[in-house]
């Protein structure tokens, strides 16, 4: 049986590494819409139940303005769940110096996988030069930046990265949600084709009117990265989107884990 048939029979495939490359954790700090909040242990338990071996998350607290405290709390969480939780430390230009120092202090930590930026929440567009100190720091060290992108939000239209990447061509970048819309997805795919270190986060592209099979026809396969956006969104959504699709099993394995581990350069997801 292939993966689709196995899942349709009600079984989550054992030994299939799944790494969630874009998640959020916190203690109820985000409330622009109602978000169901539960202890991190239970969040990780739901992930495990549906086959996700480990997740890389940023902090809600950091996202809402408490960058240093949020990042510190996230690293405490990672220490508590070292095999299942990895950290993106948050950066925003408003308190850039303090956050960059914090990133530097944690960069050698095994659970650190990269930096998260959310230009809309930070109210600072990627069109500006405000993120340059971070880009410069990360490009020199090969550190991945996960950026929230959505084509209709002026602060983080993925197309704005064409100009950034002219200045920082070796920047390792994961385009969160692939820009969200059809146009955003197309810009993201173009970036991933033009720049070696630009990767595509497939959550969010669910709303782009591009089915995943068509996405695989359009984008470089090695650039497609699995993620869920939990605990904003239900992780079962994107797990199902990949596992029940008509993509072949080898590509599903690449998307679900292998591509991200190759991008980071090490094994992250526990193997059974």
């Amino acid at each position: 049986m292939n993966l689709k048939q196995t899942v349709l029979s009600g079984v989550i495939p054992q030994g299939l590494p799944i790494f969630d490359a874009h998640a959020h954790v916190g203690e109820g700090e985000y409330n622009a819409a109602y978000l169901y909040t539960m202890p991190l242990e239970k969040t990780l338990s739901l992930s495990k139940k549906i086959g996700i071996g480990a997740i890389a998350a940023s902090s809600f607290k950091a996202l809402v303005g408490k960058g240093v405290e949020g990042n510190a709390r996230l690293m405490e969480f990672c220490a508590e769940f070292p095999e299942q939780l990895y950290a993106y430390l948050y950066y925003e230009p408003r308190i850039g110096d303090a956050l960059l120092q914090q990133i530097d202090a944690f960069k050698a930590n095994t659970n650190f996988v990269g930096v998260k930026i959310h230009p809309r929440e930070a109210k600072t567009s990627i069109e500006t030069n405000a993120y340059d100190p971070l880009y410069d720091y990360c490009e020199k060290r090969g550190i991945l930046i996960l950026c929230h992108t959505w084509e209709t939000e002026k602060e983080n239209n993925p197309a704005s990265f064409f100009r950034v990447l002219k200045r920082f061509p070796k920047l390792k970048l994961l385009l969160g949600h692939m820009g969200g819309t059809y146009t955003g997805c197309m810009s993201s795919i173009e970036l991933s084709k033009r720049f070696d270190h630009v990767f595509l986060d497939i959550n969010g592209s669910l709303y782009s009117q591009i089915w995943i099979e068509e996405l695989a026809n359009l984008a470089p396969h090695e650039k497609l990265i699995f993620s869920t956006d939990q605990v904003f969104n239900d992780p079962r959504i994107i797990v199902g989107r990949v596992l029940l699709s008509d993509l072949d099993d080898a590509l599903k394995r690449k998307i679900l884990c292998e591509n991200f581990e190759a991008a980071i350069g090490r094994t992250l997801c526990p193997r059974i």
């Binding site: 169901y36 059809y182 199902g240 029940l244």
Partner: protein, 244 residues
């Protein structure tokens, strides 16, 4: 597990980005996942008048059992833009037709003064009226529900950014249903069932605008009882679409 899809559609030709677009493609893709019946709307905008577009839907649905036509409903202003009351009742009785309003796309807000007798007719025949939350002003819908509390309103394509509004709306008014197509919130399906009951949720995919895979997997692996899962997957569809 079998599924019956309240929120499905089709185009007349293949479309870029959509792995399945035509009625046959959508239907086959669904069948491979256990979707055995569906309510289909014609999404093609360039295929004639409303009546011609609805006739295509009806014709395609007659080709196979388990397909129910969702007819676009425009207000009874221009005589050639709407079905007469007698005709609409006949389509409901003979073909188990459902109706959908598109307040945004059709510039026709869902209000009493816009749709008049059509709402009364839907109540009398217990026919579901579908509408996307992304096109709906819930203040308009509240006026309609105050006048017609028994109107079966199926709100599709919900958005988590309006979850406080739509949950309160359904807590306040009876006969309000949601489809699963955009319930993406964390533990969203479990939460909504806890607040409203499984009887108020219908399995919906929003094919072909998006894939159905996420919705099938979500329902298979959600933390609800078997009875609740079966209601959402197909039981509620059978009650409000097939039996009425």
């Amino acid at each position: 597990m079998i599924f019956k899809d309240i929120n499905s559609g089709f185009y007349l030709e293949k479309r870029s980005g959509l792995y399945a677009a035509t009625m046959e493609e959508v239907s086959l893709c669904g069948e491979a996942l256990g979707i055995v019946a569906g309510a289909y709307i014609n999404l093609e905008r360039g295929c004639g008048t409303l009546r011609q577009a609805n006739d295509i839907t009806r014709m395609r649905c007659k080709e196979k059992t388990g397909r129910y036509p969702v007819l676009r409903m425009l207000p009874p202003g221009y005589p050639d833009e709407h079905h007469s009351r007698e005709e609409a009742v006949r389509l409901i009785l003979e073909e188990k037709a459902l109706f959908r309003v598109c307040p945004g796309q059709d510039a026709s807000p869902l209000t009493l003064w816009m749709f008049g007798w059509m709402l009364e007719m839907l109540v009398e025949t217990k026919t579901p009226l579908l509408v996307s939350l992304q096109e709906l002003d819930l203040r308009d819908a509240a006026e309609v529900k105050q006048a017609y509390p028994d109107l079966r309103l199926v709100i599709t394509n919900t958005t988590q950014w309006m979850n406080r509004q739509y949950i309160r709306f359904a807590q306040h008014f009876p006969e309000v249903y949601f489809d699963t197509s955009n319930i993406i919130e964390y533990y969203g399906i479990e939460n909504i069932v806890e607040l409203l009951g499984a009887e108020r949720i219908l399995f919906g995919t929003n094919m072909p605008e998006k894939e159905p895979y996420d919705k099938v997997f979500q329902l298979m692996h959600c933390e609800l009882s078997e009875v609740e899962k079966q209601l959402i997957a197909h039981g509620n569809f059978e009650r409000i679409v097939e039996v009425r």
